[in-house]
Symmetry: C2
């Protein structure tokens, strides 16, 4: 396939790189920021550009991997392209791409860092299209990248995205609060890392509700009170400790 990559962030970098690895031709890389476009284009042996008017109209795939709130303006500015146009956003409806005859969504449910390689085969890819031909194409494209392909409509994709805020964004914040507790007593976050890995490993085969541990789930009021006392000087952490302990008691 001839592919145009619109965007130069984490998702664009990883997805375009993966298409390149699979032998596809990344003919153009667009970014608002010309330096970013150059960096990604050169790693893909592609051409960098910052003007959407220069985008080739006859590619097979247009991959829009940019910030959610930039999608509608890019869609308006893009010419009448002939290939399949997809965005990669969890929170954006497929309807945003309505003006293209062939369009769809290719949403990777994963967190990317530019510097860190991930194994694409294990990334859940959520696809959606409104016509059978585009859906067929997307199925083929997604199956080439990953062994975990799900057909998910825009409403459910929004729910997935919401659940990921709990299971990824809020989880990382819990790591951060743990690090704050340690730092305030000159203890090293390093000590928590094995526990963090094991906690994530456990739910790879079990449902979280079945492996909940800690003072709240065993109604250990003595330890909870001791912890609240230790947090006396951090009212913010204390409030979160109380809210989440109550929530665990309600859920388990």
């Amino acid at each position: 396939m001839k592919i145009v990559c619109i965007g130069s962030g984490n998702v664009a970098t990883h997805m375009a790189g993966e298409f390149k690895k699979k032998g596809h031709d990344l003919i153009q890389v667009w970014s608002r920021n010309s330096a970013h476009a150059e960096v990604l284009a050169s790693s893909l042996a592609s051409m960098a550009m910052t003007d959407l008017a220069e985008i080739d109209l006859n590619a097979d795939l247009y991959l829009i991997a940019i910030k959610d709130n930039a999608i509608s303006s890019v869609v308006r500015a893009l010419g009448d392209v002939n290939g399949l146009v997809v965005h990669t956003s969890g929170a954006t409806s497929i309807a945003e791409l309505d003006r293209f005859s062939s369009h769809g969504v290719l949403y990777p449910l994963q967190t990317f860092s530019k510097a860190k390689a991930v194994d694409f085969k294990d990334i859940p890819l959520c696809i959606e299209a409104t016509d059978a031909d585009s859906l067929d194409k997307l199925r083929t494209i997604a199956a080439e990248l990953s062994k975990l392909v799900y057909e998910v409509d825009s409403d459910k994709r929004e729910i997935l995205h919401l659940s990921a805020v709990f299971a990824c964004n809020f989880v990382n914040h819990m790591y951060n609060l743990g690090a704050q507790v340690l730092r305030s007593h000159d203890l090293d976050f390093e000590m928590l890392r094995p526990l963090i890995m094991e906690t994530a490993m456990k739910v790879q085969t079990e449902m979280p509700v079945n492996v909940q541990t800690g003072p709240a789930v065993r109604d250990d009021e003595q330890t909870i009170l001791k912890h609240l006392e230790l947090l006396e000087s951090s009212p913010h952490l204390k409030e979160i400790y109380q809210t989440l302990s109550e929530s665990i008691k309600k859920s388990n």
Copy 2:
């Protein structure tokens, strides 16, 4: 070493098993529950018992790995033993073992499930003793089990334990809330598992504050409002979403 294992739960099972693997002699396993004592004792080629009065007074190591609130009564009931007596609790002071001439703490900062093997070498072991001789012994014992040995006093161990509530117990609860969001829309928790692993992997080399992602940290009010709307029928989840989003904004 001749070792007496007092307790038959997850921690007792994993630690006693590891001592056995290293070639030590598990001479007795005590538990209030005779069936539990039998199961563990038979896997260790040891002797099960339920009466603390029968505990051998001349072992080298007494490993007290039982529920926090059971430690003081077991300590009172135990005879005047001659070896090193340690407990494995994060939240219990070393002072609870004062009546034994040689005593200390050997706290593994990890979450254990009976059925799941863990690599002991990578488990942080926190040790504490009040006299130099016991500390020396504990250093040797801990170094035989793990490459991650830390000397941590009772006050700091309590802080570690508190930080683990955030980084493990509350994290697992976030997984559970993510699963609840999915289930209410007939989506499979399976889809979140790769994201959960990657989120834990990221903080193995980075500090959590540097890899925070999601709508709250990028001040994406539009997505936050959309998510709160989706949670309208779950006031409990909505409250947690709001509290943690505010907390992320304050912390980052």
